[in-house]
Symmetry: C2
Subunit: 258 residues, 2 copies
């Protein structure tokens, strides 16, 4: 195992660049840290971990990781060097540089798909991946206005689901909705003035669920392309639900009620 002792080492500088969206976009790589997330990265799918930085005094604890990722370059680093690439207050001894998963074409995605338009909060984007995973959704499609699911905060909220649920990018929600319709999907717009989702007729086999921005909801362009418009009923005085909560109720209804 090679040792890196300086934060000025070019490998460390290159890894640090992945803390920004620009660095991630340019390289197709992202940072992943902590025991649980790095273990997920090593497993899903194997071969995508490019670099492992292991804190020198925790090499024994993390001995299984290099063995499970034989293609990865492994570096023993000091606590100070690890802190430079880490994005949390208390690093957990291991940071990985991982290749972003390949994305499938929109039309070949499988039965249930979530289409996120301008979902801005990284925690919401991450939580939506986690929920999509649990509900058996085939993919999450994101517009450029969404928070990056490979940022540190979003990744934490995914709890590793980003390794299991394919992520595709769409130029716009309206364009993606058109493509999905042509591929035979029902496209649901979630809007406060839609029909009561609990009063719906049974849904078709293939469903694309569109989820909009936390404050503004879906754009009119996206809503126009929908085949169905639904809202969740509100009983009390609440005007709306947390975005990740609303998305989850829709996803579980689609997955388990149809």
């Amino acid at each position: 195992m090679q040792a890196i002792t300086s934060v000025h080492n070019p490998v460390i500088q290159a890894a640090k660049a992945l803390q920004t969206k620009r660095g991630r976009d340019e390289s197709g790589l992202f940072l992943c840290e902590g025991e649980h997330m790095v273990a997920e990265a090593v497993m899903n799918p194997p071969g995508d971990v490019r670099i492992l930085f292991v804190e020198e005094n925790q090499a024994t604890k993390y001995a299984a990781l290099p063995a499970a990722a034989p293609q990865a370059a492994v570096y023993a680093v000091s606590a100070q060097v690890l802190k430079a690439v880490s994005q949390v207050m208390t690093p957990q001894g291991v940071v990985a540089v991982v290749k972003k998963p390949e994305t499938a074409g929109l039309a070949r995605l499988g039965k249930h798909v979530a289409l996120l338009e301008n979902v801005q909060d990284p925690g919401n984007v991450g939580t939506m991946f986690r929920t999509a995973d649990a509900a058996g959704f085939a993919a999450c499609v994101l517009t450029p206005g969404c928070a990056d699911p490979f940022s540190a905060k979003a990744l934490r909220a995914t709890m590793g689901s980003v390794f299991r649920v394919p992520c595709a990018e769409a130029e716009s929600a309206a364009k993606a909705a058109r493509e999905m319709k042509e591929a035979g999907y029902a496209v649901i717009a979630t809007t406060l003035d839609g029909e009561d989702f609990y009063e719906r007729a049974p849904l078709p086999e293939k469903v694309c669920l569109m989820i909009g921005n936390e404050g503004a909801g879906l754009t009119n362009e996206a809503i126009k392309e929908a085949t169905h418009r639904y809202r969740l009923p509100m009983r009390g005085g609440a005007e709306s639900l947390n975005a990740a909560v609303a998305a989850a109720i829709f996803m579980f209804e689609i997955a388990f009620r149809g």
Copy 2:
């Protein structure tokens, strides 16, 4: 309108004390800030706003508030003084000191009740209030291990629902569950090893939904008191859902599917 120009003014010091849980517990008061939340405080229920601090150069914008809360002491304060009582980076010109809503006795709560045991994240507690409101739940019952719903972060996540959904305190979830059973409620434990919630028999009229800690789930003592144990099915590789998301799926199923 009286003016306060110094952060050392005793009224300001007393308000600042409400930034801590201890200060809120000892006084039965809490801080509420921003246009939307203070407007909710003034309306629900009227009479509970004790003090309004209005930034001097925004008195016109907030002129309707003192009129709607005639019982409140109103102070014009400088931006610097407002910042001292505020808990956000960019104060929005108004902070209120509000009396905590009265709590009802456990057994008289109404049809659907959420019982939160050791839910630690203030955002989760707040989001659960917001969801409970939307699902028409009659109350949220909290154990001492829960985050304080009247903290700044939790309040923001409630989006004002804390003014509409009564909050009751319980010594322990197990004790509250026993009382609820005696009052005729079905008590549901949400656990990863329960029965599939989507395969359930129709639920009785009165339901108490128990939600546990984000990491550890419900305590064994609480689970032992349950009349039903349910889990949400997981289709993908996800092992669990975000706590506020899981709570929401259960609440909406109970409210709209029964």
